[in-house]
């Protein structure tokens, strides 16, 4: 890794790491006795380790060949591994909190292990840790390939990737200590938020600079999807985290907004985060890796561009569908509802486009589990967007809101769409990136596919059932006009579904562990495939659709 850096670049990296370590030390000193102090030590350790990694290689040989002649893949490789590690951690937390709902004793009496603290570790772990690392890594790959140019700079890709992981670590460790802003998907406290802004601005600049160096006149559509993800997430993050720290030496802040104002800001953020974190970036993945793997261009390229602009212009208005029947003005709710229904059009355009691309290549889909991951992801994308548009209709939401139906919808999107497209892309990318002949075990890919699919289906079906039962029980009246069921009655009715969900999640988690194992074994044991040309991806065209047995 270090052999790609010149001496001057190593010194710069050491300076940045040293500076970071100093900030950590300052935080540890100032925040003594507060969770911020603990975070200070974590920051110090993080940058300290980086400092020593670079320092130990300071005088090793420098790169000799012209680096502009190849792509810069080291950060992509590390990003893929980090994404998989976070997947295992985050999904383990998911299975744990799911089991806590079925068997509350699994909390083991600890304050840190309560549902309220572990749940955000799950959500941030999978969304930011797994999803975010996968997005950053694949964006590095795609922006270079589609621009036919190397990333500018050697330090900034590392800064973005590692800086983002530091944010994830601060977030997750904070939740366990009880640090939270109480804003879903934005729980991390003020100093972590400020750090993320720095990282994100560097990311945006890096992307724009790569595009401006491109040797290909056209900007491939996947880049637009990734760019919208980066830009919009930056704006959302800044607006939703506007807060006044209670003191400069503690991890506690107060939001600039209050009451329904705060709720509106939160869900303006929340749904746009679904849109631009969990959707557009992953659509970028889909639009690159699906055609690549299938070996045929996207069915309608024109439609992919149209649906991009459709999604961008519709999504930003829908946040208020999370606040139906609240103090939010009625017309704002109606606005959110209307745009939510309109959103179905560009969403289905993407899902349909992906499936039509595979039309005529079903033989490949049958034989190649990697392609099947991508196909199922498109199916679940179509399913969850249809469901979402339906749930956004006010009377339907009256039934679904507060129930497990929402959780079912979330995971149809998160497991069925986000995770499946990511796993598919990782299997397509790993041999290319490490220049291996195939994946270590195609049987393991096959197993992973069926585990992931059955886990998702079990999860989603049990939540649909439990959600609708819950919703109906809460609105059933007796003849005298009183509520028929108590809350505890509905809780008892949920129990079997919670067990089923935990089981489905366990299958899904097993699949993720297999994936990590398979990728590591591929790196360690599969013979190198010497690229025919000097060009890193030249081997890919010759890659068999069906990975050969090991």
């Amino acid at each position: 890794m270090m052999s790609n850096l010149t001496g001057a670049e190593r010194t710069t990296a050491m300076t940045i790491a040293g500076f970071g370590a100093l900030i950590g030390l300052a935080m540890a000193a100032a925040g003594h006795g507060d969770p911020m102090g603990v975070h200070g030590w974590i920051v110090l350790a993080f940058f300290g380790v980086l400092f020593f990694i670079v320092a130990s290689a300071l005088y090793s040989p420098e790169p000799v060949e012209d680096r502009a002649l190849s792509y810069y893949d080291d950060p992509t490789k590390v990003g893929i591994i980090l994404a998989l590690i976070w997947a295992v951690v985050g999904m383990f937390m998911g299975v744990w909190v799911a089991s806590q709902l079925a068997w509350p004793d699994l909390r083991f009496e600890g304050a840190w292990s309560g549902f309220g603290r572990l749940r955000p570790v799950h959500t941030s772990g999978v969304i930011f840790g797994f999803g975010g690392n996968a997005l950053i890594a694949t964006s590095y790959h795609i922006m270079q390939r589609t621009s036919r140019a190397r990333m500018p700079g050697q330090i900034s890709p590392w800064f973005v990737l590692l800086g983002f992981n530091l944010f994830c670590i601060l977030a997750a460790s904070g939740y366990v200590m009880g640090v939270t802003q109480s804003k879903e998907y934005a729980e991390a406290e003020w100093y972590a938020d400020i750090w993320l802004v720095v990282v994100w601005v560097v990311y945006f600049i890096l992307y724009m600079r790569t595009l401006s160096r491109r040797n290909e006149p056209h900007i491939y559509v996947a880049n637009w999807y990734y760019l919208s993800f980066i830009l919009v997430v930056a704006i959302l993050h800044i607006v939703n985290n506007l807060a006044v720290p209670a003191s400069w030496t503690g991890a506690k802040s107060y939001s600039l907004f209050s009451g329904v104002q705060d709720a509106m800001t939160q869900w303006w953020y929340g749904h746009n985060a679904v849109a631009f974190f969990l959707t557009t970036g992953f659509l970028g993945m889909l639009y690159y890796f699906l055609p690549k793997r299938a070996g045929r261009p996207i069915y309608s390229y024109r439609l992919s561009i149209l649906s991009f602009w459709g999604i961008v212009f519709f999504y930003i208005w829908v946040g208020s569908h999370h606040l139906h029947y609240t103090a939010l003005p009625h017309w704002v709710q109606t606005l959110g509802m209307t745009f939510s229904v309109m959103l179905l059009v560009p969403s289905w355009a993407s899902a349909g486009n992906a499936l039509m691309t595979l039309n005529g290549a079903w033989g490949k889909v049958r034989d190649d589990a990697t392609l099947r991951f991508m196909m199922m992801a498109a199916v679940f994308y179509g399913l969850s967007t249809f469901e979402g548009s339906f749930m956004a209709i006010r009377p339907v939401n009256g039934l679904s809101h507060y129930t497990d139906w929402t959780v079912g919808h979330v995971h149809a999107g998160a497991m069925g769409w986000v995770a499946l497209i990511t796993f598919g892309s990782i299997y397509a990318l790993t041999p290319v990136l490490w220049r291996r002949e195939t994946m270590y075990s195609w049987k393991a890919v096959e197993w992973h596919f069926w585990l992931a699919l059955s886990g998702t289906v079990i999860y989603v079906f049990s939540m649909w059932n439990s959600g609708i039962i819950q919703g109906l029980m809460w609105r059933t009246y007796t003849e005298t006009g009183t509520l028929k069921f108590s809350f505890v009655d509905s809780l008892v009715a949920m129990h079997p579904y919670y067990i089923a969900r935990a089981f489905g999640g366990l299958l899904f988690l097993t699949g993720a562990c297999i994936c990590l194992w398979n990728v590591v074994m591929t790196i360690l044991h599969v013979p190198q495939k010497a690229p025919e040309l000097d060009y890193p991806t030249s081997s890919e065209a010759m890659e068999p659709a069906l990975p050969a047995a090991e």
């Binding site: 502009a68 002649l69 190849s70 792509y71 390939r145 589609t146 036919r148 140019a149 190397r150 500018p152 160096r213 491109r214 040797n215 290909e216 006149p217 056209h218 900007i219 491939y220 919208s228 830009l231 919009v232 704006i235 607006v239 907004f257 329904v260 104002q261 509106m264 800001t265 303006w268 690159y288 055609p291 690549k292 070996g295 045929r296 261009p297 996207i298 390229y301 024109r302 561009i305 602009w309 961008v312 212009f313 930003i316 208005w317 939010l328 003005p329 704002v332 040309l533 000097d534 060009y535 991806t537 030249s538 890919e540 065209a541």
Partner: protein, 66 residues
């Protein structure tokens, strides 16, 4: 709902950025050869190129839409 006097302008600004980007893409020949553009990502068997400061003009391919 004073928050709306903040969020709606922010949202409109985001829309305006999107619109500006869209017009940029129209003016800069991004949609001249859609089927060629879709096809080209599949071929990476040419030699890597050193960064050019001005992107070369689009090369029409057989499948050109126009």
């Amino acid at each position: 709902m004073s928050i709306l006097t903040f969020l709606i302008p922010v949202t409109l600004c985001m829309g305006a950025i999107g619109l500006a980007a869209f017009f940029w893409s129209l003016r800069h020949g991004q949609y001249e050869d859609l089927s060629g553009d879709a096809e080209r990502i599949l071929h990476d068997d040419d030699a890597p190129l050193v960064p050019a400061h001005t992107p070369r003009p689009p090369v029409a391919t057989k499948e050109t839409t126009k």
